[in-house]
């Protein structure tokens, strides 16, 4: 698998994400700086990492979503290349218009940093192909702005089209319909607040995140 991990000023999960991809797929991803305007040729996964890019200035992910590299990411997404956004990466993908809705301050105002139980949705995307719909997995969250909002019509469409990839089993941040992760219409773009890259090996306290990358690898191979 030829993966690219984007790096923005203030990304802090880029190396975790790269390590997770390397561990699962056996190939080392290429780190791509935000100011570049092209992705590596033949890329078959673009990963947008967590962190606090640009210090969350203006809105979380707002500045990064307009970075030079994002034009190439949009083109890759349109070609059907899988694009994974985790945490700040999810915020960036919504700000870039690759996913609907927005992520705002947690309803409880607190920064939430702990393991949460997620229910795998009915999504048919490659990202969830390693899981069984309805299964519960444990993956950590670490965010201040993970409260997913969208208008009722968008929420109905996401649910109706099976685009809710993950839901919080119990409320974490006030997200509409307990949404923790969604895909685009085609299913090749996933944004999620929880961090699957932090649950890859037993030493992490669990391996529930691993199957997300395994499912992707199987789909790409």
């Amino acid at each position: 698998m030829k993966a690219a991990v984007l790096v923005f000023p203030g990304s802090n999960c880029d190396r975790d994400l790269a390590t997770a991809i390397r561990d699962v797929t056996g190939s080392t991803p290429q780190m791509v700086w935000h100011a570049d305007s092209e992705l590596p040729a033949g890329v078959d996964l673009v990963a947008v990492p967590g962190g606090f890019s640009y210090g969350d200035y203006l809105r979380c992910g707002a500045i990064s979503a307009r970075a030079p590299i994002m034009g190439a990411v949009k083109e890759a997404a349109e070609r059907g290349v899988p694009v994974l956004g985790v945490c700040n990466g999810f915020q960036i993908l919504t700000e870039a218009g690759l996913l609907p809705g927005a992520l705002i301050r947690n309803a409880g105002l607190d920064f939430v940093c702990r393991d949460v139980a997620l229910t795998v949705g009915e999504s048919r995307s490659a990202f969830t192909s390693g899981y069984t719909p309805g299964e519960t997995i444990a993956v950590p969250v670490a965010h201040h702005d993970g409260n997913y909002v969208a208008d009722a019509e968008t929420l109905d469409r996401l649910e109706g089209d099976g685009r809710v990839a993950f839901r919080y089993a119990a409320d974490v941040n006030g997200s509409a319909r307990a949404i923790a992760g969604i895909t685009n219409e085609r299913g090749n773009v996933l944004g999620m607040m929880p961090h699957p890259e932090r649950r890859i090996e037993a030493a992490h306290g669990g391996t529930d995140g691993r199957r997300l990358f395994e499912g992707l690898l199987a789909a790409v191979a």
Partner: protein
């Protein structure tokens, strides 16, 4: 040309920051504060003759996220 762009959350979008400010005002003894909504103001200096369309484009493409926010452009006299 000086511009002031006011960005506010759309009605119905939860504003926990506004809520916290509302509670803090109550804590200071200000009774009767029924609601607080927090927003942002941007003060811009742009070239004379910058078109309304360009200003609107700036708001829609960066300054406001129209999924959750409304904006209003005020021109300083």
């Amino acid at each position: 040309m000086k511009l002031r762009i006011v960005v506010t959350l759309k009605p119905g979008v939860l504003d926990p920051q506004g809520k916290a400010i509302e509670h803090a005002l109550g804590g200071l003894g200000f009774d009767g504060v029924e609601s607080v909504r927090a927003g942002k103001i941007f003060e811009l200096e742009v070239a004379e003759g910058t078109s309304d369309a360009a200003i609107d484009d700036m708001c829609r493409r960066l300054l406001a996220n129209t999924v959750i926010e409304n904006y209003r452009v005020e021109r300083a006299a």
